[in-house]
Symmetry: none
Subunit: 113 residues, 2 copies
């Protein structure tokens, strides 16, 4: 019986129209490079690894910055906006990061209409 080896972090992952190369910190949408910075990729990958799950804002903050998030801290959503912006450029008509008001964000690729 043939058993496929588990995906190692070094290989590229495919989610919807996205190719993710963790070792290169690169994301390609239909072959077009998103051009994420390091921090942007970290946020993107953190959410993408937990596909279809809502990740709470304070948890995102703790994982990305460490410590507790102040009530009115905008760090998370400013970064989310940049990731969204770059994804929009290379994958117009797609939506990936969904806001759950008062809770956090969920990564689920969806095509408009």
């Amino acid at each position: 019986m043939l058993v496929e080896p588990p995906i190692s972090a070094g290989e590229s992952l495919q989610i919807a129209n996205l190719e993710i190369r963790p070792t290169e910190l690169q994301v390609l949408a239909d072959g077009r490079r998103a051009g994420f910075t390091v921090r942007e990729f970290e946020l993107f990958f953190l959410l993408a690894k937990r596909l279809d799950s809502v990740v709470q804002r304070p948890e995102i903050y703790a994982l990305m910055w460490g410590g507790d998030m102040q009530r009115r801290d905008r760090s998370v959503d400013v970064l989310v906006r940049k990731v969204r912006g770059k994804l929009e450029v290379v994958a117009p008509g797609w939506r990936y990061i969904h806001t759950h008001f008062g809770i956090g964000y969920r990564f689920t690729p969806e095509q408009d209409q």
Copy 2:
């Protein structure tokens, strides 16, 4: 492709046709997201944790808002109504929150007819 299992055992509860994810503040009925707000989820979860038990209104009030409930306070049933409404959308034909007149509410999933 699935990168990681989104949910590990123990982070998700199943009651009737509902999947409850406490860490995400999410409830799914047959895979459809209820879309509760934070407060709505809190009320839902409070009742669901006490399946088949009647929870008295003053106790619900104390747990959700703290302190004693004024005689004519509508906070509890306004929230109950919103939770019922969102459950109705994703699970038509089901009834979950039952009113016990003069006492409180009981969470018991039931299918119509």
